[in-house]
Amino acid sequence: MKPVFVRPQSLTDKPFHFCPGCHHGVIHRLVAEAIDRFGVRERTIAAASVGCSVFLYDYFDIDVVESPHGRAPAVATGIKRTNPDKFVFIYQGDGDLAAIGTAEIIHAANRGENLTVVFVNNTVYGMTGGQMAPTTLLGQPTTTSPYGREFGQDGYPIKMTEMLAQLEGVGFAARVAVDTPARLAQARKAVFRAFETQLEEKGMGFVEILSSCPTNWGMKPLEAVRRIEREMIPYFPLGVYKERKGSDAL
């Protein structure tokens, strides 16, 4: 018998601590597949972030450097600039990347750092207990927006992929989702492109992945999966927002 699907080699065998139905596990798997596919495990150094993704270093059999909250793009810049031969990726949630770490991601992107960025947007602070994130949708109740996010009070959900796609230093920017098999296949392609962007030295490869957070949304796993199509995709449109092709090097 031949394997149709087996656990990627770059994942350790440690069980995920994520809640039932949380998409972090799927996204971890996509990243691990990309590491295996491009054969970069032995030269990968990741910068982990703070939030539910903080235990990344337990799940990937690679070298990982922990970063303070929001600072992974800066930590990764330090790693990559001093080790240009290594493959460096960061994995951040929306609170980490789009709130406390906004300056770091924008300037790493603008400098055209050859980094791969996996940005998990689940519209909520997960690990701290479901507080409002910069990506929380209008009307969405959270533990710090109990009456629902209201623009006069909290502003609008931030669209990071659209913003970053404007920057010259970004070689690839896409928003994908992993809520259906078809979209998962697109997401896998996008993660692979974000890897290739770094390997081809075309600047930052950025993938935003819409993700569910059943626990903090107060939903069962399948309801949470359906919310992605119903509420998130209409506000956060999927697609490739930027792709630097072939010979247009950075």
Binding site: M1, P3, V4, F5, L11, P15, C19, G25, P181, L222
Partner: protein, 67 residues
């Protein structure tokens, strides 16, 4: 016939795989696993085509598919 290996001791019973199985051959079982969840099981091995959609959608990466 394709072979499905489910590490059901690590399944959290989210049922995403059940939902997306195109042949409807998976089900959430009645038993409890060591984590306290009701894990998924293969209800209809005959119907399984080994498409691996279940494995790809599984957030815990605990399903393997061989053919």
């Amino acid at each position: 016939m394709p072979k499905l290996v489910i590490r059901d001791d690590r399944c959290k019973g989210c049922s995403i795989c059940v939902e997306f199985c195109p042949k409807d051959c998976l089900e959430i079982t009645d038993r409890l696993n060591p984590l306290g969840y009701r894990p998924v099981g293969l209800r209809d091995p005959e119907a399984c085509t080994g498409c691996a959609i279940c494995a790809r959608m599984c957030p815990e990466v605990v399903i393997e598919v061989w053919k």
